[in-house]
């Protein structure tokens, strides 16, 4: 018997306003912070643990874009876990844009960050005759339960063809 896919298989219309998920947590290592910093954000406070001591952060901190990338990873893993091997991804739409991305506190090596997601709006719009927009509020907290990042993002979800006639 095949396990019925859950989230992947839902249409836009089936996703309830207010749905809340905890995507999971990740502990950032010094090595991964430095590797990301060298590739994408070469400031000494993202690349050099020694030189970072002489910056306003007084030590190495993760690039804010590494936090958003990790949010994506944990979201995909979380949704995949529900989908149980459904690989087509056709109903997982693209991100359109985001608003109010803010970073509140530095994330340092060894910090464990937990990511949460809540559906806050489903605007009454049809994109390219096939997609709806799910607006979610996303927050990230460190191990002391301090908020380190938040943003809202618009992601496409496939509409039930019955509703778009």
């Amino acid at each position: 018997m095949q396990i019925k896919p859950y989230i992947r298989n839902r249409w836009f219309e089936d996703i309830p306003l207010g749905e809340f998920h905890v995507f999971g947590s990740h502990t950032f290592s010094e090595l991964e912070i430095v590797e990301f910093g060298r590739s994408y954000h070469p400031e000494v406070y993202h690349t050099d643990p020694q030189a970072a001591l002489d910056t306003p952060y007084r030590g190495l901190v993760a690039s804010g874009w590494q936090l958003t990338a990790m949010w994506m990873k944990l979201m995909v893993d979380y949704m995949e876990n529900f989908a149980r091997g459904v690989q087509d991804g056709r109903r997982n739409g693209a991100g359109m844009g985001l608003q109010d991305l803010e970073w509140f506190l530095p994330v340092r090596p060894g910090h464990t960050i937990t990511f949460t997601y809540e559906v806050i709006d489903k605007p009454d719009r049809v994109v390219r005759e096939r997609w709806g927009i799910i607006k979610s509020r996303n927050e990230a907290f460190n191990q002391y339960n301090e908020k380190v990042m938040s943003f809202t993002i618009d992601i496409l979800a496939e509409r039930n063809p019955e509703s778009v006639k």
């Binding site: 690989q87 087509d88 739409g93 693209a94 970073w103």
Partner: protein, 153 residues
């Protein structure tokens, strides 16, 4: 010579260098952060909304940061961090072997920022592909050191 917060005024523009993204870059980032079929598998991507294997939008944002960091560093602007991104839009997919460059315009400035000794600059940033089409557009608030050492609270 270092160009501190005081030295940069609204209206100033910065042009960045260029970066070319390879298929391998796309696959490596996707495997680490965005393992969805349209970022990992050319066949699956062909039938997706993007029409082909393309970079994660977060990789494009990260490449934006690389272009911006290199451009401001070349101008000796002491950037001490990002406060926020009030808005960002992904306009077009970025495909393997696309070449990206950015245009940065300073739209405003404030004395205060999250870090003592740093002011903030509001920037509008557009990343273009080699066809001069915008792939992402964003506004961001950057923290830049004032002409004495910045330090945290």
């Amino acid at each position: 010579m270092t160009r501190y917060w005081h030295d940069i005024q609204p209206g100033e523009r910065f042009e960045t260098g260029q970066l070319t993204i390879s298929k391998r870059d796309i696959l490596e980032f996707a495997a680490a952060f965005d393992p969805q079929p349209y970022h990992l598998d050319s066949d699956a991507a062909a039938t997706s909304i993007f029409g082909g294997l393309c970079a994660s939008g977060w990789q494009v944002a990260a490449l934006m940061m690389r272009l911006l960091t290199d451009a401001l560093s070349a101008q000796a602007v002491p950037v001490v961090g990002l406060n926020s991104v009030p808005a960002m839009r992904w306009k077009m997919p970025v495909f393997a072997d696309d070449t990206l460059s950015a245009q940065i315009i300073v739209t405003g400035r404030e004395v205060v920022s999250r870090l003592k000794g740093a002011g903030s600059l509001d920037l509008d940033v557009v990343i273009f592909n080699q066809h001069r089409k915008p792939v992402i557009e964003l506004s961001t608030r950057l923290m830049v050191a004032m002409d004495e050492p910045a330090h945290a609270d």
